[in-house]
Amino acid sequence: MGIIENKFRDNVIITSADKFMNWARLSSLWPITFGIACCAIEMMATAASRYDQDRLGIIPRPSPRQADLMIVAGTVTFKMASRIKRLYEQMPEPKYVIAMGCCATSGGPYWQHGYHVMKGVDQVIPVDVYVPGCPPRPESLLEGFIKLQDKIRRESIATTQAA
């Protein structure tokens, strides 16, 4: 991730810089408004008043340039896969992906006879957290956010993230 790649063990400067930068990244995850299917409705319900993802600092942003989290909410079909790939590439670098729902995780209910369904979005883009459920409850999605935040907490600028 830069010139100081794997050159330092954990010393006080790197770790405190890590802690601060990771804290900033994880407390303001901006997802793109990008719902595909039924999970998008539960994603909207998470943004609505009862579960309110804004409490964790999550505001949906329309343009991929300003987003750093992509929630793949719904069934990924082959026609859509190239679009998702392009969207993912348009996002600026520290970007994360949550595969929301069984369809994005592994093709879900359509894995057997779905000739047009992509069996899991990780064939197209690297996924950080898989949130199971069909559709997952808003609480499960919030728990997915928290799991992602834990993962970001463990990142470090001095070592490349574990794949």
């Binding site: 026609k79 896969a81 894995w111 000739y115």
Partner: protein
């Protein structure tokens, strides 16, 4: 007015167009000859006391020996319904398009083409509506074999380690 009377009216107007009438069963339907379907539909729509102004549903069906297109028509004015069927050969199903009569048929016919390969002549723009344009094969046919890969992504999920 009952569909049997409608069939009699069609028979009187287009004697040679009527192939067979099936009155028992839940749904009475009449099979129309292939190349006169457009005129019969036009007649059904414009005839004053029939007024079948709304095409409810146009669906393709694939039997072992023949291909079939089923039209469900309904008249808002007189509130009666009728079912027309057209039989086509399996290897090169072609029939005149009715999108000139009802504009609703436009997308339904494109879907029938996409799923069954039924070609509707003089349809405004007959191309695939649901599947990507470079998809080979017509999925809903009974003898359709799912391709192995599509643009590098495996379609059929081989459940490794589960069987």
């Amino acid at each position: 007015m009952e569909s049997s009377e409608v069939f009699k009216l069609i028979e009187s107007k287009y004697p040679d167009a009527l192939k067979s009438i099936d009155l028992e069963g839940i749904e009475q339907s009449v099979t129309i000859d292939v190349n006169s379907i457009a005129d019969v539909c036009n007649y059904l729509k414009t005839e004053s006391e029939l007024q079948f102004t709304s095409l409810m549903c146009l669906s393709g069906v694939d039997y072992e020996d023949k291909m079939e297109v089923v039209y469900h028509l309904h008249s808002l004015l007189h509130d009666h319904r009728v079912t027309l069927k057209v039989e086509l050969s399996r290897d090169n199903p072609k029939l005149p398009s009715v999108s000139g009569v009802w504009k609703a048929a436009n997308w339904h016919e494109r879907e029938a083409y996409d799923m069954y390969g039924i070609v509707f002549d003089d349809h405004p723009d007959l191309r695939r509506i649901l599947l990507p344009d470079d998809w080979e094969g017509f999925p809903l046919r009974k003898d359709y074999v799912v391709a192995e890969k599509y643009r590098g992504w495996t379609i059929r999920k081989i459940k490794e380690g589960f069987e």
